[in-house]
Symmetry: C2
């Protein structure tokens, strides 16, 4: 036999095991207004209230209007936690990021959360650096929270985030990184081609002793930019004068610059730096430690077009990653995978374009004549 009106877990106990049925109209004592409260006051069933808040459910206009009015007066809103539990969908996306010190990523984060918000999703944020323990923890947390999908930025080639998500059956899109043919869906710019364009630009501007401070070699982005740059130079018969891994890190990139420019008699006349974040540090070393003029003594080109690249102190010539298009596509691809698991995995590489400013000699510019 089923007990009626037994004590609830919270709130004061009612009169006895069979009593307490006479609960009057009005909001529950517990604080939060539920669909039952609305139903009672509107004189309809709880199901009707639920339908009134489910777009597309069949409710007569009259009932709908009555329920909405009562709901408004009670300040009722459906509990999305309960909804998630039953539908198995949370409308929450996990965003895994790191290194917000690189403004390209804070800009991406800002854009990603805005676009997702606009699509009716919410964003659970996880700061995770590229260690396996961290990513382990993060994946577990994401699974526990039943996120509908994940967008991960700056995830390295070797880590196992994607395997774990795959095993858990949770859609994943990589942002600004990819893991090749068999990796998860990924959105990047065309790093290889972009770096190749940079090579041609520098060569045509007259640079001949060209160095590269590369991105981290464990990241697809770092590798492809280096490869594109090397190949671009090679096609013109130019060999890299020096190449050091800057690990996406300002300090390491600065050290690399000191090392590449250590011989005053044989300095590079151009450096391509793997991203803007490192390029700013490199420019500061060249100017303020080594006393070099940019671009007269040395051309500097970056990659990303981070906000500071446009600041006059840097005025950095750089390859712009189309961040808006990348964000839109990443979100679209993720939602596609969520709504319709049929979308095949793919690596989208969006073309970018070189933004010419004044940190590097330009082909045909006066500085080059």
């Amino acid at each position: 036999m089923k007990h009626q009106g037994s004590n609830s877990l919270r709130g004061p106990p009612r009169s006895g095991p069979y009593g307490g049925a006479a609960r009057g109209p009005g909001p529950a004592a517990s604080g939060r207004v539920t669909s039952h409260d609305v139903a009672r006051l509107a004189g309809v069933s709880q199901s009707a209230v639920s339908r009134a808040f489910s777009p597309g459910a069949s409710v007569s206009p009259k009932t709908l209007e009555k329920i909405k009015r009562v709901a408004e007066s009670l300040n009722y809103r459906p509990n999305v936690i309960a909804r998630s539990l039953i539908t198995g969908r949370s409308r929450v996306i996990g965003l895994v990021v790191a290194y917000l010190g690189n403004s390209f990523y804070s800009e991406a984060l800002e854009n990603l959360s805005q676009v997702l918000q606009k699509k009716g999703y919410h964003v659970l944020i996880f700061m995770a650096y590229n260690t396996d323990e961290e990513l382990d923890r993060v994946v577990h947390d994401l699974l526990d929270h039943q996120v509908d999908g994940i967008i991960a930025a700056s995830v390295s080639l070797s880590n196992s985030l994607s395997e774990r998500c795959g095993a858990a059956g949770i859609p994943l899109v990589l942002f600004n990184r990819h893991q090749g043919e068999h990796g998860p869906t990924a959105v990047t710019s065309d790093n290889y081609d972009g770096a190749k364009q940079v090579a041609r630009f520098m060569a045509r501007a007259g640079c001949r002793k060209i160095a590269h401070i590369a991105g981290w070699s464990e990241s697809s982005t770092g590798c492809e930019r280096e490869a594109g740059f090397r190949d671009g130079l090679a096609e013109l018969g130019i060999e890299l004068k020096g190449c050091i891994d800057g690990a996406w890190n300002r300090r390491i990139a600065a050290e690399a610059a000191r090392s590449l420019f250590s011989d005053p008699g044989d300095r590079p006349d151009g450096v391509f730096v793997g991203n803007d974040h490192m390029a700013f540090a490199v420019m500061d070393v060249l100017r303020y430690e080594l006393g070099l003029r940019i671009p007269e003594d040395v051309s500097v080109v970056g990659f990303d077009d981070a906000p500071q690249a446009a600041w006059k102190s840097y005025d950095l010539t750089t390859f712009r990653q189309p961040i808006g298009a990348m964000v839109d596509l990443a979100v679209e691809a993720l939602l596609e995978r969520i709504d319709n698991n049929a979308l095949e995995k793919r690596h989208f590489a969006i073309p970018g374009r070189l933004v010419v400013r004044n940190s590097a000699k330009s082909p045909g510019s006066p500085a080059n004549e």
Copy 2:
């Protein structure tokens, strides 16, 4: 009479309204492993499994060990959505931010989410600019998601976020803003005193024609920095040469700089800019548009100590807000309010300190002799 084994909402229908009781051991067909699956395999009740995952619940060591073993083999983890529904606590904190273009905020965001993660909370992020409609939507979303508390950065004086949270009974802590005596709990640095220190510093360094490009006058932070700066100068008998609201915006601040320095015959010899983010724009205008030398022709002082302030291109003398301490205190205060509603509302103003670099003449420095 209660129906047994009626069709579940998802998954294939079973044999009939009274059939389907013979569900064998092993994980549910639906995909996710539940506490029932673990219970069946471990030969214990579902309650026992639940207790095994509730720290402090009474389970015998032997049972615990058995359950943990089975759980591990099935890859079981409790569903936190279900837990939230029943406990009424989500262990999720809403973080309301904006303007990540100002690196001080991206640094704060990074720190806040890390500290909250470390405390076992997760972070739902909301980008909200200071319009009332946006904040309305955000508050509703936060309530719907049953966040346990909210930390809001860069919220203006006039908006109603705090009232709405108060009405909903949801703990709120303001970060880098406050709303006075009757406002919510707030954590800032001591902006008034900090700006006063800047005034004394600039005066002692010999500046006499001092201008101010202020923060937004609708924000507590902007007002207090301006007031502290004015009062600091006044105590030394110096009056501000000019003051323009920069609205925390690079473009507007740059415009303000052009205007304040428009008379070549009577230019300020020092500018205090309401935050570093604007100060970088101002420095670029002074140097690259007006051809002024910093600090020889004009001293520039900022506020925040954003990461770029230490970059050699700016090398900005600035008042450091103790971001680590501010983050720790904001989190602590919020969790205190959540665990123990008794904590009274308060405005915490943490002292900071002036970081002397080379964008401003220093008292007693050679540049000043």
